[in-house]
């Protein structure tokens, strides 16, 4: 009888341990799914808000989009597939960052172009100023002439 009780205790203890491990596994998976939700929903624009991401919005549509993302993450779809799902329905507008292709490439390249143009302008101006400042330093003759004239003024 005692043996049976002991065996039962051991069985219970081990099963609860296993159960605990299973629960932890589940938690980690849930955490990972939540992390993916955050990544995807932060990159999607809430259609009814002004410049707010789906992840930050509590509007009905944003909540529905979050539910759909959760469902699709659970169904094993990739981040790109999930983003594509919303782009086909709401258009490229739904992406917080426009894709760097086609006309949108201009949005990415223009600041770089403007910055390089500005830097070039500063370099050219600095070069010109140096050239303009340089000549007086070399005109030693001027100083000498001034000194001779000064000497001539003496009685």
């Amino acid at each position: 009888m005692r043996l049976v009780v002991r065996l039962l205790v051991i069985l219970l203890a081990s099963s609860s341990l296993l159960g605990g491990a299973g629960a932890a596994d589940g938690l980690i998976q849930e955490d990972r799914a939540e992390q993916r939700l955050k990544t995807i929903a932060s990159g999607l624009r809430c259609p009814v808000c002004q410049g707010e991401a789906v992840y930050d919005s509590h509007s009905t549509i944003a909540n529905q989009m979050k539910t759909l993302i959760r469902e699709q993450v659970a169904a094993g779809r990739t981040d790109d597939e999930i983003r594509g799902f919303f782009v086909t329905r709401y258009g490229a507008f739904v992406l917080m960052e426009p894709a760097a292709s086609g006309m949108n490439l201009m949005i990415w390249l223009f600041p770089l172009l403007a910055l390089s143009a500005g830097m070039l302008a500063i370099l050219v101006l600095l070069g010109r100023r140096r050239q303009a400042v340089a000549p007086p330093a070399t005109s030693v003759g001027g100083t000498e002439e001034f000194l001779t004239r000064l000497e001539r003024l003496e009685p």
Partner: protein, 189 residues
Amino acid sequence: MTTVVSNTRKTFVHAWWKPLLLIATVGLLGLFALGLGRDPTFMPSALVGRAVPDFELATLSAAGRTRSGDLAGNPLIINFWASWCGACRSEHDTLLKLGRELQGSGQVRILGINHRDTASNAERFLSSLGAFPYPSAIDADGRTGVDFGVFGLPETFFVDATGIVRARHIGPLNERDVSRYLAVIGVER
């Protein structure tokens, strides 16, 4: 040789910096004006030019289901509405008139989609404002609305006879809008 090159560059910059600055300033101001003139709430529709999404929904106040496939072959107007939507009230008369005028003609089919609503509220709404002369399907969880890219009500989609969405109207419809969109999907009034 180098002095010659640097001199030409210098004269080029010297001669052109004023016009260049003017062009850049005017261009930026132009972009700014364009940006100010745009409606920040405007959302381009991804659906225009594409096939109407498939759906199968319960029918409001009637038995049976509404399937997108059953509606193919004719120009189609799909109107998303709800009892909780205030702006839907202001387009209600336009829709009633349009329904009475076109539903019997066989030229075009009209379908209402009751979006994120309860059947009882929807029925109460229709009994107080007048029932549509055409059927409505129930999209209680809003899933079909997502497939259409719907984000605010009312929204109306105009589909041509080949099943391609030709226009999307966001906000309440008026007579003038309706005439314009009907022409786009090949319906003569």
